[in-house]
Every structure is written in structure tokens, then in C-alpha cells.
């Protein structure tokens, strides 16, 4: 029963969602789907501590066992508690909350994400080699599009932005559509497998 119950929940929930969408059940159907949507919101709201608990377990474990760099775990835990208290006391749009979130957390997050820009540059020098026809096509399209997207492209090669637009709207769009059509069928198949209980990897079995 322990293994079957979650699969039953998946099937029942999915069937209700689909039944209400595909069968006209009038006001009963509208009320049912509204209730189910609200239930979905409520489950996520009450599960909000999952990330915090995982984080606490991980970092507390680092501190108690004095693993390497355990000092940073202390900082993470203090930052988490402090940020939660500041937000609850000062409010979501409070001055202190906004200062901490905007000028520390968001700045670090965006700076870490911007690191990818540097890796793209190093990859351009070190990794992208014209070893075969496919690589040549890939790099050719990339170079054309980079020139087309930046204003300097039109300054050096007038009209290249239109070439870039054509590459995006014809070969790129067609290729992406082919991928999307195939992936879409795959996604439907995966959803059906999950609903029928054929896909059980998420249960851990």
C-alpha cells in the first residue's frame, strides 16, 4: 500500500484535472477545478520550509562534524535566520529588507550568473574548433548572428541585421519547431506513463 498509494494519488489527480477540462460538467466542473487549483497552491504554501530544512540539515551537519569550510556553513545559517527575521519584522518592502535583498543577495546572484559570460569567452577561444562540417555550420551561424545582433555588424556589413533576422526566422525557427514537435510528443508520452504508474523513478523504486 505504501508504494501504491502515491501512484493512485497521481492517477486520480490527473484524471480529475483532465476530466474537468475535456467534459463539460457545468458549474460543478468549474467549482471542482477551482478547488483543485487552490489545493495545489495551498500544498506548495505549506511545503515552503522544505528548502530551509534541507539547507539547515546540510550546514548544521557541516558545523557539528567540523567538516572543511564549516565556518561558511555558520555564515549561511546566520544569514538565513537573520534574513527571515528581518523580512518578518520589517516587511517585504521594508527598507532594511530591500537593502539586504537588493544590494547583497540579488547582486551576488546576478554576478555569479554573469560569470557564464566569461566562460563563453574562454570557450570561444579554447573549445570551438572547426573540426568538421557540423562545427563549421554551427560557428558560421553563431558568428553571423553575433554580428547581426550588435549594431557594429550593420556598420561593418550593411544589411547584416536582416540576414540575422532571416537566420532566426527561417532555418533556426524551422529547426526549433522540429525539435519542439518531437519533444512535445515525448512529453505527452512521459505524462501518460506517469499517470498510468509506468514511470516510478520519482517514488524511489
Amino acid at each position: 500500500m505504501k508504494k501504491q498509494l502515491p501512484l493512485i494519488v497521481v492517477a486520480v489527480t490527473a484524471i480529475i484535472v483532465m476530466a474537468v477540462k475535456f467534459i463539460d460538467l457545468g458549474d460543478f466542473g468549474a467549482a471542482t477545478i477551482k478547488e483543485l487549483d487552490t489545493w495545489s497552491q495551498v500544498t506548495y504554501e505549506f511545503a515552503f520550509l522544505l528548502g530551509a530544512i534541507n539547507l539547515t540539515r546540510l550546514h548544521y551537519g557541516n558545523v557539528s562534524k567540523k567538516r572543511p569550510k564549516w565556518v561558511y556553513s555558520v555564515i549561511a545559517l546566520i544569514a538565513m535566520v537573520a534574513a527571515a527575521i528581518i523580512t518578518l519584522v520589517n516587511g517585504v518592502k521594508g527598507d532594511v529588507t530591500v537593502f539586504v535583498v537588493e544590494n547583497i543577495a540579488n547582486r551576488i546572484d546576478s554576478a555569479v550568473y554573469a560569470l557564464l559570460g566569461f566562460y563563453v569567452c574562454s570557450a570561444a577561444y579554447r573549445s570551438f574548433k572547426l573540426k568538421n562540417v557540423e562545427a563549421t555550420l554551427l560557428l558560421g551561424a553563431a558568428v553571423l548572428l553575433m554580428l547581426a545582433q550588435a549594431p557594429i555588424g550593420d556598420a561593418i556589413f550593411p544589411g547584416i541585421s536582416k540576414v540575422g533576422e532571416w537566420i532566426l526566422s527561417v532555418p533556426n525557427s524551422a529547426g526549433m519547431r522540429g525539435i519542439r514537435l518531437g519533444a512535445g510528443i515525448g512529453a505527452y508520452a512521459a505524462s501518460i506513463r506517469v499517470i498510468l504508474g509506468l514511470e516510478r523513478s520519482w517514488t524511489g523504486s
Binding site: 495545489s40 546572484d109 570551438f128 549594431p151 550593420d154 532566426l168
Partner: protein, 281 residues
Amino acid sequence: MDWEKLQHIDIRILYVIILVCLLIPMFKPIGLPIAISDATRQVYETIENLPDGSVIWVSHDTGPGNAPELNPMITALARQAFRKNCKIIATAFFNETVGPTLVYTHINEVAEEMGKEYGVDWINLGYRINADATMKLMVENIAEGALGVDWQGEPLDKFPIMQEVKSIRDDVDLLFVTTVGSPGYSDWMQYVAEPLNKPLTGGASLTMYSGLQHYIRSGQLKGFLGGLRGAAEYELLVGAPGKGCAGMDAQSLGHVTIIVFLILGNIGYFAAKKQRQQETY
């Protein structure tokens, strides 16, 4: 020249070069003209063709990483919308630390300049957990989906705009979504735009822009802005060049630098290969 050694140059030298190349145009702007793409023009015209006083739903579904690309789009959109006396309902479903504050800041900046009042001409509903369920609820009843409060927890019934705009189905005329992933344009298309036949437009980070071109072609997206370049083009159309246009010169030199890296890397690769072959023989 030792091509082999050049192939394994210290990577930090490349980082310094790209930083310098991005900084030079920031100190000395070149002012290159920006051509407007058809996709951007379609976004502008879709909004311009709305009757004055329409209601535009703006969802700034961005994270902190991609915010610099997408923020100028929100500012330009607010300017065009308020010029037409349109009402704006704002949400931000991707990230709670960034989205609600950014969408508030960027719309408020324009609202204050153009004499528009929060709660009367626009409102920010902020972030809600489980975007799919929230969108579906807001289709029928916005207050229910938003739990009856705005992004700061203020009750919605005290804001005049929420007396006029009750549901997306009946009261919203256009969806403008800035997107970096999921939840994003695909969810808005799936749960709102397609079922209700509402026009959907907006902007995407360039990391995903090439992957949504087929939706523009099929008409499911009424044009879409592409990253900072799209934001710059849109700013020019709206008549208010801002942060989008400011970054274009640096982009240009950055692109040229990367193309030079690509060329040098490949020259080095083939030269080193030839050198090795000659040494073998």
C-alpha cells in the same frame, strides 16, 4: 611562434581582455545606430493598436541574473502603456526575491514621471507560489488567485483598479510577459493566451530567444523582444532611449572580441596541428 603554448594561454588574460573591451565603449560611447527588427516592431504596434484605456497584464518573470536584459523592456512598456492611459496589472512569477521589487521599481519610476497613481492606474500583485495554479485561478478571479492582497500584503479591495479589473478573462486586453524560463511565456500561453484567445507579447532573455521564434511565426506570440538588443529597439520606438540603448556599444565591441577569439583560437588550432604534423615527419 609556439602555437601550442598560445592554445593553453592563462585563461585570466582572456577575462581581462573581454573586461577591457566591454569597458572602453562605456567610457567612450560610439553611438552606433540600431536597426529595428520586425519582431520588435510587431510588439510596439500590437500595444499601440490597443484602444486607449485598455488593461495590460505585465508579468516580469525574471531572475536576478537576467534582470539587466529585461528591466528596460518593462520601463519602455510602462511608458507606452501610460501614454495611452492603459491600466497595468503587474505580477512576477519566476522569483520572489527579485521579480516583485523590480517590476514595482521600474513601473513606479515611469508612473511618478507621468502622474500615474499606484492602486488607481496600476498595481503590483507580486509573486505567488505555483504559478500554473495561480494563473488558472486569476483567469476567473484575480483576487482569489492573489489571495486578496497585493505584493506587500495590502488588501486588494482598497484599490480602485481592482474594482474595475476582476478577472483576466473579462477585463484584460493584452498580456506582456518578460521571461527567462519556466514559469514564463509558455505557461501564460498554455493557461491564459490560447484558451482565452488573448494576445500575448513581451520579451525574453536572449538565452531563450532563438527557441521561441517558431511561436512568433505561428502568430501565437505577437512579436517578442530579444534581450538587451530588443529592449534598445523598443526604447527607440517608444521614443525614450534608456539603459537598453546605453549597453549596445559595449555589446558591439564584446561581440567583435569574441569573434576575434574564435578566429584566433581556430588559427592557433590549425597552426599547432600543422606544427605537430611537421615535427612527426
